[in-house]
């Protein structure tokens, strides 16, 4: 169950307490997140919405261990990541986080297969095992037949599917999706959201999604609004996780 009041018992998958993030821009100090609390359980699908500059991506970066908070703690699956050193945080990220980016961020000189294989290069899996994992991930996103295609040979929606395959291939603890449909047309966006919902409902993945798109947010179990550095639970217009668009 998702809570933003800091009242969770700490047994959830993600536990955020008193999270503060300040940036210095010249002489101006920007307080992006202010004492933010969040509890997310395994299998939850949470969407974060809010105006530009509200700190959605900053929150995602902090949860993914890409950035460090000014104050507060983030605990994921029992590991407090806010005090990990740079290299430990990198190792933690490899094991626990799957990133899905708005611009897909596939490496253009690598095939779909090689892009998806990237996170597995950090594991001790054999070549055959890596191959098997990559094929399963590409099968889940419906692109096994395109595994030898380069990103330039794929449509935007297909590229994002490869991005999702890359995010799930190492079976991370949770997925962080930063506007995954932001660069797609409506049809492709809906297909990507279908896929994300499928990961939640069929594979029990925990997904934290940042989006500007109300239709995409509507597919999440819980929608949280970030405003002036504080999280507020929003009322959903209808629908539930996994419901087709």
């Amino acid at each position: 169950m998702v809570r933003v009041d800091g009242g969770g018992d700490g047994s959830g998958l993600v536990r955020v307490r008193g999270l503060d993030k300040k940036y210095q821009r010249g002489s101006e100090e920007i307080h992006v997140l202010q004492g933010l609390n969040l509890d997310v359980d395994e299998g939850d699908f949470v969407a974060f919405m809010g105006p530009s500059g509200s700190g959605k991506t900053t929150l995602l970066n902090l949860l993914g261990g890409l950035d460090l908070p000014t104050a507060g703690t983030i605990t994921v699956a029992g590991d407090e990541i806010t005090h990990l050193s740079g290299s430990r945080l990198t190792q933690w990220r490899a094991r626990h986080v799957g990133f899905v980016f708005q611009m897909y961020n596939l490496i253009p000189v690598l095939t779909a297969f090689q892009n998806v294989e990237l996170p597995l290069l950090l594991t001790r899996l054999s070549k055959a095992e890596r191959r098997s994992h990559v094929e399963v991930a590409l099968e889940v996103v419906g692109l096994k037949d395109r595994m030898h295609h380069y990103p330039r040979q794929l449509s935007g929606g297909q590229e994002q599917r490869v991005g999702i395959a890359r995010a799930i291939v190492a079976d991370p603890t949770f997925l962080l999706c930063d506007e995954p449909t932001g660069d797609l047309d409506r049809k492709s966006a809906d297909e990507i959201m279908d896929l994300i919902c499928q990961l939640v409902s069929e594979h029990n993945k925990t997904v934290l999604l940042v989006t500007h798109d109300p239709a995409a947010a509507e597919r999440a179990q819980v929608v949280l609004h970030l405003n002036k550095g504080v999280l507020v639970e929003a009322q959903k217009a209808g629908g539930s996780a996994g419901a087709p668009s």
Partner: protein, 380 residues
């Protein structure tokens, strides 16, 4: 090896740029190989000089002779083990461009003072029994397709007339660097035919000392022995003699070092710039690698590996080109008999190429390592 695809595909991202950078390395290392070969050719005498040999020449100049009577006096100098002598003949074979060293030598002593030259015993006996006999180096014989029994005419320049010789022996060097392009014949044959002016004169002496540690002392004693005589001497170790001979062509080493330094510095700038551009172009890709869990050190090594691979491929190609060029031997036909790219030189060149690769890749690699993922992803 699981990361090889990552390195290779990145290099092939801009094929023309990679090929041109590899080409820069290839050209630089080709030049390095060639310059080293030329330097080695000039210094060949220094490389192979015997530590236990001294060269005694006329104090005025090497072209001034010394009396043959000095031999007995040289043998009496303490520390001297053996003495031999030689005369520069300077003949022309068919055409002046067919240059090679020809020397009239004192047979038995010459052979024992220069044990690095190997002559089969039967051929030696054939040579000794023929007044017009000659011994030629294996490379010289190969160059002119000479074989045992061939009669070789040489047109004298210092010693007038046409001189004819019978090839009775072919010598080999024990080491790769030994000069096998020389032509030797009996001093007695020269003495018999030469102008009366030259009778009883030799070009220079080679003195073998009992202990190489005493070389300097013996050399001084020799020069003191003949001081204030009509034929004063100048004695040096064979190494110093060869070095001064090489220096007559100018300070080749300084020239080569200067050219080499400029070439490698330029290469460093070219490759450094290429790697910096390559890193700037893929900031997003490097940020993604870090985001999915690749460490800062991995990214550093990845960029360095690319730089090293360019250096290794380019360096190997350049050195292979230089080697290929030297396979056909001395292009001057006799001026640089030791025209050879040694494995040590090739290895040094390859090491220098890798070093340039590391240095050129270091700054871009460090900037890639320090790349902040959040900033990099926001930038694009």
């Amino acid at each position: 090896m699981k990361y090889s695809a990552l390195i290779l595909t990145n290099l092939l991202r801009k094929k023309i740029r990679t090929v041109l950078t590899i080409g820069s390395f290839a050209v630089a290392l080709f030049l390095f190989g060639l310059l080293s070969v030329v330097q080695g050719a000039f210094n060949q005498g220094v490389e192979v000089a015997g530590a236990d040999r001294l060269v005694v020449i006329n104090k005025v100049s090497i072209i001034q002779p010394l009396p043959i009577s000095y031999k007995e006096r040289l043998l009496r100098v303490p520390g001297v083990k053996q003495v031999t002598h030689a005369n520069w003949f300077g003949g022309v074979y068919q055409d002046e461009r067919n240059f090679f060293a020809q020397m009239a030598v004192e047979d038995d002593t010459f052979r024992s003072v220069y044990p690095e030259y190997v002559i089969p015993e039967d051929q030696w006996q054939a040579y000794m029994s023929d007044r017009e006999g000659a011994i030629v180096g294996s490379d010289l014989a190969k160059r002119f397709h000479w074989k045992l029994g061939d009669r070789i005419p040489l047109k004298g320049t210092i010693f007038q007339g046409t001189w004819e010789f019978n090839i009775r022996a072919v010598y080999q060097g024990k080491r790769t660097a030994d000069d096998t392009t020389q032509f030797w014949f009996h001093y007695k044959y020269l003495e018999e035919r030469e102008n009366p002016y030259w009778k009883g004169l030799v070009g220079w002496y080679t003195v073998q000392v009992a202990s190489p540690d005493d070389s300097v002392k013996v050399a001084r004693q020799i020069d003191e022995t003949f001081s204030n005589s009509p034929w004063e001497t100048k004695t040096d170790t064979e190494k110093a003699f060869a070095a001064s001979w090489a220096k007559q062509a100018g300070n080749i080493q300084l020239l080569l070092l200067s050219v080499g330094a400029v070439v490698f510095f330029t290469l460093l700038l070219v490759t450094g710039n290429t790697m910096a551009i390559a890193v700037r172009e893929r900031v997003r890709d490097l940020a993604v690698l870090k985001a999915v869990g690749f460490s800062d050190v991995f990214v550093l090594v990845l960029v360095l590996a690319e730089s090293l691979l360019i250096a290794a491929v380019g360096g190997a190609l350049g050195l292979a080109g230089a080697k290929l060029l030297t396979l056909s031997g001395d292009p001057t036909h006799g001026m640089l008999p030791f025209f050879y790219l040694s494995p040590q030189t090739a290895l040094t060149g390859f090491g220098v190429a890798l070093l340039v690769g590391v240095i050129a890749g270091l700054l871009p690699a460090l900037s890639a390592m320090r790349l902040n993922v959040v900033d990099a992803l926001r930038r694009v």
